[in-house]
């Protein structure tokens, strides 16, 4: 699997989309509580905005029942007047929106009223971030800048996932779709994973899109990790030593025994994977109709990823 080809970035102006995991089930059990985690992130956002006047930061909250845009630095200046000073406004704006989001997210959960959900809706926030990037990209081209001079500032877009909760297997297809779309638009997905074990989704995402995957060893020094690794603009990445991915295991697991396999049999119609040869694909045998396939897909997709 080749990594995304690197684009040439003439300038260090960047548009950073931060996907912030707000899953309460994770943060309540984490070594680094959310209240301590947030100041690191805020300082990091500040430092990005400090580096270049044209930098833009957008924050999307990844909840466990919904996702939402909670902050966009480009709309800052309009709201500054109420609070007098921009920065406290920036913080309070973000925090206020975040709080509203978390409360609403929880209400949605009560409606569903089920056991604790350990995964967040990463696929949703990734999809939203990509739509946003696409819109910025389009806006750039619409202005007819691109032929004039390639050195004209083009926002180098990057996505940073600050994720803690574990992967939700039912999101596998959606997340893979997002990853491929990001790869196509050459948007690197960086990931900083705060959870205890590694996230297979984020490892794949960063590897395929040419981003950086990092699991901080000492969560208390998070800001230093963030500013050292993730504040690097895409232009400078060509010159700096960054954490290398140790290679991702792209072997698949079979549907029948969930074993990781070197060689297997794949159904030509539905692409199910089996470790032994059967006369007929058992998945297809059941799933004749699309509607049935839809209903059951989440069951077998989960099996791919485990």
């Amino acid at each position: 699997m080749a990594s995304a080809a690197s684009k040439l970035y003439a300038d260090d102006v960047s548009l950073l989309m931060v996907l912030l995991d707000t899953n309460p089930f994770f943060w309540s059990s984490s070594n680094l509580p959310f209240s301590k985690f947030l100041p690191h992130v805020l300082a990091f956002l500040n430092s990005i905005l400090l580096l270049n006047q044209l930098n833009q930061v957008v924050v999307i909250a990844t909840g466990y029942n919904s996702c939402s845009y909670i902050y966009d630095s480009s709309s800052d200046s309009n709201q500054g007047s109420d609070h007098g000073r921009i920065m406290p406004a920036r913080c309070s704006n973000l925090l206020q929106k975040l709080e509203e989001f978390v409360i609403k997210d929880e209400q949605l959960f009560k409606e569903g009223s089920r056991e604790g959900i350990s995964s967040s809706l990463l696929s949703g926030s990734l999809s939203m971030a990509l739509c946003f990037d696409e819109q910025i990209y389009r806006g750039f081209f619409d202005q007819g800048h691109f032929i004039l001079n390639l050195a004209v500032t083009m926002h180098a877009m990057q996505i940073l996932c600050l994720q803690g909760s574990s992967d939700g297997p039912e999101q596998y297809v959606a997340i893979m779709n997002s990853i491929f779309s990001a790869q196509r638009s050459m948007v690197p997905i960086d990931s900083c994973y705060m959870g205890s074990s590694n996230s297979a989704f984020l490892q794949q995402a960063s590897y395929i899109t040419g981003g950086v995957y990092l699991k901080p060893q000492q969560p208390n020094g998070l800001f230093q990790y963030l500013s050292t690794v993730f504040a690097t603009d895409l232009h400078s990445r060509a010159f700096l030593q960054l954490p290398k991915s140790l290679g991702v295991d792209f072997r698949a697991s079979c549907f029948c025994h969930k074993k990781t396999i070197d060689m297997g049999y794949i159904c030509s119609v539905c692409l199910s994977i089996f470790c032994k040869h059967h006369k007929k694909c058992s998945t297809c045998g059941v799933l004749k109709l699309l509607s049935v396939l839809y209903a059951l897909c989440f069951g077998w997709v989960r099996r791919i990823t485990t």
Binding site: D11, D12, V13, A43, N46, S47, L49, L50, L51, N52, Q53, L54, S77, G80, S81, D82, G84, R85, I86, M87, P88, R90, C91, Q143, G144, H145, I147, L148, N149, A151, V152, T153, F223, Q224, S227, T228, A231, T232, D233, H235, S236, A238, F239, L240, Q241
Partner: protein
């Protein structure tokens, strides 16, 4: 733009040129720190951020480990720049190891910025005062108009419709180098003046501000003060009104000058006066390479040398007049033609063909900007051809020989010169015998003629 002889230097180069004492004083202002940080090369920014929370000196060796082999030269540039601006202090300890420390004042200021975020230099007008503020579009239009008016006045003082308040002495300083005035004649634009007009707004602004700063001492202003005020100004929010009473006397004077340039709009309230920074002011701290403020193009050039400019601006019309024949003007359309005559007059004024071409390319209308090339090739080629037409005379140092005693000797000599590929001209037909040969072959010629005479 290629070949711009006027170098609109960066603000930061000016800052870096300040003496150490003044620099250290500048860093006490948090805005200066921010502006300086933003002006650094990307790698240098990165280093500053990385060292921000590290209190102990970092060895040069460990910093070199951060970069890949490809980036060593960039690394050097970044470190040099940081030392030059006195952000890094370099110390060599007893073990001959070089270490760097971040300037402590700079460090504390940046740390504050990170925790508290960017604080505005001063409170904007409280929202309970109900004064109608101009909208952002109005403000932009105002800035543009003011700037164009200034430029128009700069080119031709009589042409400006609205006299601006810029004092004639100030105007003189700006015009210095751009206009030349022989006694009693109307002032004429110099070569650099014409080039100045073809630059983009940001570059022009830099040029003017640089003149303004370098002349500040004459007006009894400290240049460091002026620089720090201008930088501070760039951190105000575009379109917000600020109370003018928060400024000191000297700053109030500066504000007035800047208002004439369109950097600031002054507004008289019932009790207090307010100043509203425009985009021109807030873009000051952005380095020159950022062309994101580039305006939309407006010129369409066709293969038949006709030129359509969608613009209502008088200045655009004037600029186009520099190198084309403007034929008619509609409300938002200027139609002209690029002709040999119009170009010749441009060349006479010292504008180069490349400058015209790059002006046309940079200001290409979005519709044609999508095409490659945005200006038809035959037009650009023709502009270059006409330009080289003017440079037909070639100077070659030469020697002139005459009064050859015999025709044979002349023919022999010219054949000999031809052998060296040095014959430039001979006059065979007339009775006078004349010959011109390249100077570098004079020695051979003299030897040859000497031999022949024997």
């Amino acid at each position: 733009m290629p070949q711009v002889r006027i170098i609109a230097k960066n603000f930061m180069d000016m800052v870096a040129a300040l003496p150490a004492m003044k620099l250290d004083k500048l860093y006490e202002n948090a805005f200066i720190c921010e502006a300086i940080l933003r002006s650094l090369p990307p790698l240098a920014k990165k280093y500053v951020l990385q060292l921000l929370c590290i209190e102990v000196p970092v060895t040069a060796k460990s910093m070199e480990e951060w970069v890949l082999p490809d980036g060593v030269s960039k690394h050097r540039v970044a470190i040099d720049r940081l030392i030059q601006l006195r952000i890094f202090t370099e110390t060599v300890d007893r073990k001959r190891e070089t270490t760097y420390t971040l300037n402590p004042i700079f460090q504390t200021n940046l740390k504050k910025l990170l925790v508290h975020g960017v604080v505005l230099p001063r409170e904007p007008m409280p929202s309970n005062i109900t004064v109608r503020l101009p909208s952002l579009e109005d403000l932009q239009a105002f800035a543009l108009e003011q700037w164009e008016c200034f430029l128009l006045q700069l080119i031709n003082s009589s042409q400006s419709e609205r006299p601006s308040n810029i004092s004639s002495s100030m105007m003189k300083t700006f015009q210095r180098g751009l206009l030349s005035q022989r006694d009693r004649e109307a002032p004429r634009l110099t070569d650099s003046g014409f080039q100045f007009l073809l630059m983009d707004t940001n570059a022009q602004l830099w040029y003017i501000i640089r003149e303004y700063i370098s002349n500040s001492e004459e007006r009894g202003l400290d240049s460091a003060d002026l620089i720090s005020f201008l930088l501070e100004l760039s951190f105000h929010v575009t379109g917000e009104a600020y109370n003018i009473n928060t400024l000191n006397e000297r700053q109030k004077n500066i504000i007035k000058d800047l208002a004439d340039l369109g950097l600031i709009k002054l507004q008289q309230g019932r009790k207090d006066s307010w100043f509203i920074p425009t985009e021109l002011a807030t873009n000051l701290s952005v380095s020159l390479t950022d062309s994101s403020s580039r305006k939309q193009g407006f010129v369409v050039v066709e293969t038949n040398f006709r030129l359509y400019a969608y613009s209502t601006s008088k200045l655009h019309c004037e600029i186009l007049r520099l190198f084309s024949r403007v034929e008619y003007q509609l409300p938002n359309l200027i139609v002209g033609a690029i002709t040999k005559e119009s170009l010749y007059s441009a060349f006479e004024n010292g504008i180069t063909g490349e400058q015209i071409i790059s002006f046309l390319q940079q200001n290409a209308h979005p519709r044609v900007a999508e095409r490659v090339p945005s200006v038809p090739e035959n037009v650009t080629d023709q502009i270059r051809l006409w330009e080289t037409d003017l440079n037909r005379v070639e100077m070659t140092p030469a020697y002139y020989y005459d009064e050859f005693p015999t025709r044979e000797l002349l023919e022999g000599a010219s054949d000999f010169a031809r052998g060296y590929n040095a014959l430039l001209w001979e006059d065979v037909n007339s009775k006078k015998t004349r010959l011109v040969v390249k100077a570098e072959n004079h020695v051979h010629m003299r030897e040859y003629l000497g031999r022949q005479r024997q």
